[in-house]
């Protein structure tokens, strides 16, 4: 029944997870070629996760080639000198493992979980595609079609599927966050073979990658495998470009209307907020919890329950490497206009800006964050991804154990301050996502 709804988990998949638990032991080191290696030993079950995070996402793309990083993620499954086209996925699955990958604005992440006696195979496979990716025109053509169908399935044939894309396009004028990782289909058609290889040589190099191994293995053995399969891969020869665009401060609220095949109007506020890891970002995330985490949260309680103006409402920061956005949204109940919903949402925002939050709310949010922080590390896959993210985004892998302290330090005053500083009209986009008139 709730399937049509704006899928928060889908959005969460684009954002890095920021919670982790308190007692994760790990070691880390760099190979001479710059590959960063993180090891986390856990013998609870006989399986092992091997993941590689490449520090390249859609924000590294040429505006004339949006969707390129995600498309390239598909090509990475095409094969290598020693793995035939179409064999990569089969090899993992037929050895009892699972695998996947995803691309965000900031990074591309590949992961597989295998029975622990297949650690060497998993490491060999990731090394193969890091060192000798092999893509032919058949593979490119097939993946072009596949990615187009993925786009249709996730975004075009799904109610509210264009929401994030519209918010990003409206919120950023300069920064490459203005497009989403799925990008525009025509650019992938226009891209030439040489461009794929250039992209590979520039970004898919050991000095732009983080290899994480988590689970049932002995570190000495893992290190020997890593040395053997990754040690000889040459370091990239070019400096890795990072976007330097700064989104200028807005001076007036911007408004935008988008029509789609949906039945109920959606209202979205998108506020510019600082990059993840800053004090303000932590405070804003906690403010987001006050507004929308749990049935007693303000948007839930006021907009959905008491006033019954929305079938769904929420707030969530989208933590990003560069300054990003915090979104608030409401999907109107039947018969409620977008204008009235916006007014009601504004009342909630204005109240928190004017009066801040209560002690009770602060304590609740701290408890929620603590709970989430512990449970994010329930699975090896989560541990591996969190370790890699903390290293790449914060150069501080131990945040997997200590980041909670940063949240716990946030005060009521901090939250009141960030509410006043960022939840301002002139700092936001208001998007109306409206039903297209029927034929």
């Amino acid at each position: 029944m709730k399937k049509w709804m704006l899928s928060l988990s889908a959005i969460a998949a684009f954002t890095s997870s920021v919670f982790a638990g308190g007692n994760i032991k790990f070691s880390e080191y760099d190979l001479p070629n710059g590959l960063h290696v993180i090891l986390h030993e856990d013998h609870t079950t006989p399986s092992v996760v091997v993941s590689v995070l490449y520090h390249v996402g859609s924000k590294n793309e040429d505006p004339q080639r949006t969707g390129f990083a995600h498309f390239f993620e598909h090509l990475m499954f095409e094969g290598s000198d020693n793995i035939k086209r179409g064999e990569y996925m089969k090899l993992v699955e037929s050895n009892g493992g699972v695998l996947n990958a995803n691309t965000s604005w900031d990074r591309t992440y590949y992961f597989q979980q295998m029975p622990s006696n297949q650690l060497e195979l998993a490491l060999w496979m990731e090394a193969e595609r890091m060192a000798h990716l092999n893509v032919d025109s058949t593979g490119i053509e097939t993946q072009r079609k596949v990615v187009k169908e993925e786009k249709k399935m996730r975004y075009e044939n799904t109610p509210y599927g264009h929401l994030i894309e519209q918010v990003c396009a409206g919120s950023f004028k300069v920064h490459p966050y203005r497009w989403t990782p799925i990008g525009e289909a025509q650019y992938i058609d226009q891209a030439k073979y040489g461009e794929f290889m250039d992209f590979y040589k520039l970004f898919y190099v050991p000095n732009n990658a983080t290899l994480t191994i988590a689970g049932d293995f002995t570190p000495a053995q893992a290190k020997a495998f890593v040395e053997k399969y990754y040690g000889y891969i040459p370091k990239g020869t070019q400096a890795i470009p990072r976007p330097s665009e700064k989104e200028p401060r807005w001076t007036a609220e911007e408004r935008k209307t988008y029509y789609d095949k949906v039945q109920l109007p959606g209202v979205i506020f998108s506020y510019h907020t600082p990059e993840q890891g800053t004090t303000d970002a932590y405070a804003l995330e906690m403010l987001g919890n006050v507004l929308s985490n749990g049935k007693s949260s303000r948007l839930q309680k006021v907009i959905v329950d008491e006033k019954q103006m929305a079938v769904q409402a929420g707030a969530f920061p989208m933590p990003m490497e560069d300054p990003g956005i915090t979104m608030m949204y409401g999907i109107a109940n039947q018969g409620v206009s977008e204008v009235d919903l916006e007014t009601a949402m504004d009342e909630v925002v204005n109240d928190v800006v004017k009066n801040g939050i209560t002690d009770e709310e602060l304590q609740k949010v701290k408890n929620q964050i603590e709970n989430g922080f512990v449970n994010q590390n329930a699975r090896l896959m989560g541990v591996a991804e969190n370790l890699a993210n903390y290293h790449v985004y914060f150069q501080n892998t131990d945040l997997i154990n200590t980041e909670l302290d940063r949240y716990m330090k946030v005060t009521k005053a901090d939250i009141a301050r960030v509410a006043q500083q960022y939840l301002k009209k002139e700092n936001r986009l208001v998007l109306y996502y409206l039903p297209k008139k029927e034929n």
Partner: protein
């Protein structure tokens, strides 16, 4: 000296780094397999009949509680949906606390507590387990069902229902449920606006009072807790839950098919079709067939190794993924086989064809040894991976009890899996894979896909359903008169708007229009002159947005970006657009004119005529059955490489204009998300337009 040493060292390291002294084409062999350690769940039963299973796992300081209510409830009849509201009503406050107070206390714990008609799930850090269990107990034992909450839930549900109208997955799901199970089975009951409006508070209370009983419940306690602590906790908080007699309803078992049926829910303009080939199977939990069917299914469509994925995605690129699944069930013939793909609209019929072909192959060919071994290893691996979550152990223990499965079912899983051979897979495929007794369901654009799908139906016909899985009434269609041809419809239209003579007397026509799009008002002037000269200008707020001129041979495009000469492609399109004769041109034999059927346009029956030009491009025209007038035209245009959109125009408000011609004064054009409303201010005929304006 120091410097030289540093350089030497760096050369040394470099050479070490770059040397690759092994043959990387040799694939690493697996190490010795590690045994899977499967602990037993511990269990106890409270005097009130609540069966509790405990799995200790002290890795993280948290604990979860799950209660499953396992009943065979009464059918919901014309009030479908009320059983789904039980959970939300239970979350609407208790006899002791208002909803707000309850939620405040719950959120303050930082954990979660959710109820549904099927049970309750809660989790938190171990240090807060007492407070959480106190709330859980209050919710289960003393909920306060109120009319106010029910009204809210109904409003929300109605809004949700209206939103699912555009969700092809919801359409597909409803269709499958209604076809396979029908109204006489709880799995086939479908929520609609009408059923929601029939729901009363009494029904909900009665459901809760009848079925929410500890003797019908199974509870799993998993995490950082010991058996003794769990016993004390559950006894303290759920010991007072009163047992009762829980009635058991009987349902009509789903029927098997004799031949394939092709069924479709229309989603006009859909960019993809949601395809499912599905039918009921009689597969009960825990029986020896289950594992064999799962292996056969994995070969066919279990993952990226499966034949469906390899065929439809990797070979053809028609879909992001195609998979099959089999589900066992506790009821008679209520399990399902299903093979699905969200595929390109234009490849819908080919996708169905390939899915059926792969199903046939499963029945005819023994699976290759290598693939079978790979699939078995994969399933063994996934089974092992599932054990990483301690909740799996609790769930397995509960399943054994609930479905009366052999006690060692999961213990023997890997052994039984290893024993399955190619002959077993072939035999089980012949029993369960039925490419000739399946429902082929499609949620997609009827006009694009239906005709090509009919060949897969035993009846040769596509059956249509609405989004709630209800058969579309046949009388929606008027029968086509047997002698009527497409060209007759065109001739009737020409006669209706003033006749061929009047039409061919027109030498030029100037149309002035007001156009509004997204609240913006623009002016559009279009001038056509025989034989194919064209001029149009779109203005608003003193600016020219778009200008087209064409003298029959060459033309120019102008607007805010400046002016440019038309290229060959534009010219070809322009010749069509400048077609001065309209429908009269279609009388020429170079056009293929076909009557495709009837369809409702704005609630009225219209003939659908497909007109294809010499190049093979086509447009659809719709002519009202009663008035003979043209009410709609539609065509698919390229919006960019690989992106297509349907542009439709709707014509209404026909009035007699100058020269005795009947012309539409209201036109609506729908192009993707854009809607243009056009009001014609005037049609001026034969004013002797100067040729200069077309240059």
């Amino acid at each position: 000296m120091k410097k030289i040493f540093a350089i030497a060292l760096s050369i040394l390291t470099t050479s070490q780094v770059y040397s690759q002294n092994f043959d990387r084409s040799i694939r690493p062999k697996p190490g010795p397999a590690t045994a899977i350690n499967m602990a037993d769940a511990q269990s106890f039963t409270l005097p009130n009949g609540l069966k509790v299973f405990v799995v200790e796992n002290h890795k993280l300081p948290s604990v979860s509680f799950q209660i499953d209510i396992e009943v065979d409830p009464a059918l919901q009849g014309n009030a479908v949906g009320y059983q789904d509201m039980i959970g939300e009503l239970m979350s609407g406050g208790t006899k002791l606390k208002s909803k707000d107070e309850f939620n405040k206390q719950l959120d303050a714990l930082g954990g979660s507590l959710n109820a549904s008609s099927g049970g309750v799930y809660a989790s938190c850090l171990t240090k807060r387990q007492n407070e959480l269990m106190a709330l859980l107990s209050e919710m289960i034992l003393q909920p306060n069902f109120t009319q106010k909450e029910l009204d809210k839930i109904k409003t929300q549900l109605l809004s949700n229902l209206s939103n699912t109208k555009d969700d092809p997955n919801a359409m597909s799901e409803n269709l499958v449920k209604s076809l396979i199970y029908g109204k006489a089975h709880p799995y086939g009951e479908i929520v609609t606006e009408a059923t929601v409006n029939k729901i009363t508070l009494d029904m909900c209370k009665k459901y809760y009072n009848t079925y929410y009983k500890p003797n019908a419940a199974y509870m799993a306690v998993v995490g950082d807790i010991t058996l003794e602590q769990a016993k004390a906790l559950v006894t303290k908080y759920l010991g007072a839950w009163k047992k009762g007699v829980v009635p058991v309803a009987k349902y009509v078992a789903p029927k098997n098919l004799n031949g394939n049926r092709v069924t479709l829910v229309n989603k006009s303009g859909a960019v993809q079709s949601v395809v499912n080939v599905t039918y009921p199977i009689n597969l009960k939990y825990g029986t020896p067939d289950v594992l064999k069917v799962k292996v056969a299914n994995a070969v066919l469509g279990g993952g990226s190794n499966g034949r469906l994925f390899q065929n439809l995605r990797e070979t053809h690129g028609w879909t992001y993924g195609s998979y099959s699944s089999v589900a066992a069930d506790k009821y008679e013939n209520a399990g399902t086989f299903s093979a699905t793909a969200d595929c390109q609209t234009e490849s819908t019929d080919s996708s169905v064809g390939e899915i059926l072909k792969e199903m046939v192959r499963m029945r005819n060919e023994a699976v290759e040894t290598k693939l079978l071994e790979d699939i078995k290893t994969n399933m063994a691996g996934k089974f092992a991976l599932s054990l990483e979550d301690p909740k799996t152990l609790a769930r397995n223990a509960i399943n054994i009890q609930k479905y009366k499965m052999p006690a060692d079912y999961y213990k023997n899983y890997l052994k039984n899996l290893a024993a399955i051979n190619a002959a077993d897979v072939l035999e089980i495929s012949k029993k369960y894979i039925k490419p000739d007794a399946a429902y082929i369901t499609v949620a997609g654009d009827k006009n694009e896909v239906a005709a090509k799908l009919a060949k897969y139906a035993a009846s040769g016909k596509v059956e249509y359903f609405n989004m709630y899985g209800q058969a579309e009434k046949e009388e929606a269609k008027v029968a086509l008169p047997t002698n009527l041809k497409g060209i007759d419809v065109i001739n009737n239209y020409i006669a209706a708007v003033g006749g061929l003579e009047n039409w061919t007397n027109i030498k030029d026509i100037t149309t002035k229009m007001d156009l509004s799009v997204s609240g913006q008002s623009l002016e559009l002037v279009e001038i056509k002159k025989a034989p194919n000269k064209y001029f149009s200008e779109l203005k608003g707020g003193g600016m020219v947005f778009q200008k087209k001129v064409f003298n029959g041979v060459k033309g120019k495009l102008g607007g805010m970006q400046g002016e440019k000469e038309m290229e060959a492609e534009d010219i070809a399109a322009m010749k069509e657009e400048a077609n001065f004769l309209g429908e009269v041109a279609f009388l020429d034999p170079s056009y293929k004119v076909e009557l495709k059927g009837t369809e409702k346009v704005e609630g009225k029956d219209a003939y659908v005529v497909k007109v294809t030009n010499a190049k093979g491009d086509f447009k659809l025209y719709y002519y009202d059955v009663a008035s003979k007038l043209k009410v709609k035209s539609s065509e698919t245009v390229e919006m960019g490489p690989g992106q297509k959109a349907t542009v439709s125009s709707f014509f209404s408000n026909y009035q007699v204009a100058q020269g005795g011609m009947k012309l539409p004064y209201t036109i609506k054009q729908v192009a993707g998300p854009q809607v243009f409303d056009i009001k014609v201010k005037s049609f001026e005929l034969n004013t002797g337009v100067d040729d200069k304006i077309f240059e």
